[in-house]
């Protein structure tokens, strides 16, 4: 087991945003977290990365309890992430952004630079290596964040809405990139709004609604789950959908 969350709960005052959610991932898995806005998936995600500490429950990384560790401690232990709103180092070049990630495993600038170029090659940003990160558009920044995270040589990569704000073509390119990364043996957790992305990538999906995990399974299973349809579309649409499925000969 590479990453495991056991009964993770996060409350802000009287508000319970994540309520006893558990997941477990083996090496090479892709886990999708989906749910309507405000369902708690980002909060849960941040409990995994260390940006938030769970109120109760545990997060286990490679057999070690990291529940109360800071993001930098978890990064050292092989966890890397991207941000929903890109958080690039705006005044630094694309290459330097990625070098910051690479410096986690070496203190030698020449080696960090070499590693950064390798990763930039993988994500297709080599041509803009010397451009200032602030000059990139949203798709470029999202790619840069993934590159920066990969440069830390993680065992698990957590992507927070890496496709949000992209056009259909860009989403397809981004999906290709995630596939490519997965083929290198990477374990992935992806938070996503776009169903197309989840269905084409994730092997296992957890659906959040109002802080609770309401469904879990393959993408095909959860999209047919009445509770999921209700959460997304409301009761009446769910009833219609159920009739639709009933009449379907398949």
């Amino acid at each position: 087991m590479l990453l495991e969350a056991i009964d993770v709960t996060k409350t802000f005052g009287a508000l319970t945003v994540v309520n006893t959610v558990s997941v477990s991932l083996n090496k090479g898995d892709i886990l999708g977290l989906i749910g309507p806005n405000g369902a708690g998936k980002s909060t849960f995600f941040n409990c995994l990365t260390g940006d938030l500490m769970p109120t109760s429950g545990r997060v286990i990384l490679n057999g070690e309890d990291v529940s109360m560790m800071t993001p930098e401690q978890r990064a050292v232990r092989g966890l890397a992430r991207s941000f929903q709103v890109p958080q690039t180092f705006e005044t630094m070049s694309v290459l330097e952004n990625v070098m910051i990630g690479a410096f986690l495993r070496t203190s030698d600038p020449a080696r960090a630079r070499r590693r950064a170029y390798e990763v930039l090659d993988l994500v297709g940003l080599v041509d803009v290596a010397s451009a200032v990160a602030g000059s990139l558009g949203t798709p470029g920044r999202k790619r840069l964040e993934i590159a920066r995270a990969l440069a830390t040589d993680p065992e698990i990569l957590l992507l927070d809405e890496a496709m949000a704000g992209l056009t259909a073509t860009e989403v397809r390119q981004a999906i290709e990139l995630v596939r490519k990364i997965h083929q290198t043996g990477m374990t992935l957790v992806i938070v996503e709004h776009i169903m197309e992305v989840i269905i084409s990538l994730a092997q296992q999906v957890i659906v959040f609604h109002q802080g609770h995990q309401i469904a879990r399974g393959t993408p095909q299973e959860v999209t047919r789950d009445p509770a999921v349809v209700t959460a997304y579309l409301g009761k009446r649409a769910a009833a219609n959908a159920a009739r639709g499925f009933a009449g379907d000969p398949a």
Binding site: A75, Q87, T88
Partner: protein, 327 residues
Amino acid sequence: MKRSVWLLLILALVIVYPLLFTTPFLQRLGALVLLYAIAASAWNIVGGYAGQVSVGHVVFFGCGAYASMAFFTHFGWPPIAAVPVGMAASVGIAALIGVPTLRLSGHYFSMATIAVAELARLIVTNVEALGAAVGLSGPVMPRTVFDLSFTSALPYYYLFLAVLLVVLGLTYWMENSRIGFYLRAIKDNERAARSLGVQAGRYKLYAYMISAGLTSVAGTLYATMYGFIDPESGLGILTSVKILIMAALGGAGLLFGPLVGAAILVPLEEISNNLLGGKGAGLTFVVYGAIIMIIARFYPSGLLKLLLDRMAAAKPAPSDKQVRDVA
């Protein structure tokens, strides 16, 4: 290649400056520019590169200055011999202040450093051993050459130049090593830096401690040259502000930014003091306030950055089209 030619040319000019301009006023002015360039370059490490704007750096300046005068007064040390004492005390104080205050973000850190500096000034004003409100003096007559008490500013000029070169060399090395990259990353986006494993708190503290130690050297050199220190000159808020403005005006986070700032501001101040005499003291604050507003409004990254950007803009940027393709 071209850049190094320029640098050598400027270095040569700086070396021959006091031989070309031999009047005491201009030699002294040159020495003062270098002295404040040392202090501002030291500030630049934490304020410019790490982006933690300390407005209380005079504490470390005062630490160096008071160490030299106090160890002369009580133990008869040559003032310059107290450099390690001042540095050690400054690094210790920086660690003590830094651990709780570097957690504060932005303006709150700045305000905390002002409070500490003012507190130090008030305490020293009431400590007899440190000369209280009257201050401490250095050797009246030089006992040996090690007292570094000269009438001419020329020896000070070259001493300060040597120290400045060491400080800039250290900054250059830092800029190109992991710590320099990390500090810039923390300045740009601390949360992102931490997600990549950067121990932000620790690196900010390192920068603060290095900066404090070097600022203390500037304080010792100041006291050695003037042979006198009191709470106002050694621990007054104006010195903190002066150091900060020089770095910001020239270009915070750039290697030569503080030197450029010092080369503009020190002559300005000396000339205005000469013209206005003792009455100009209050006016200095007004001028500094105006400079802060002008920097903030028109040149937030400093004059040197403005110049470098102009030079870069003159050349065509090759990757411009590719940036748009990806973006």
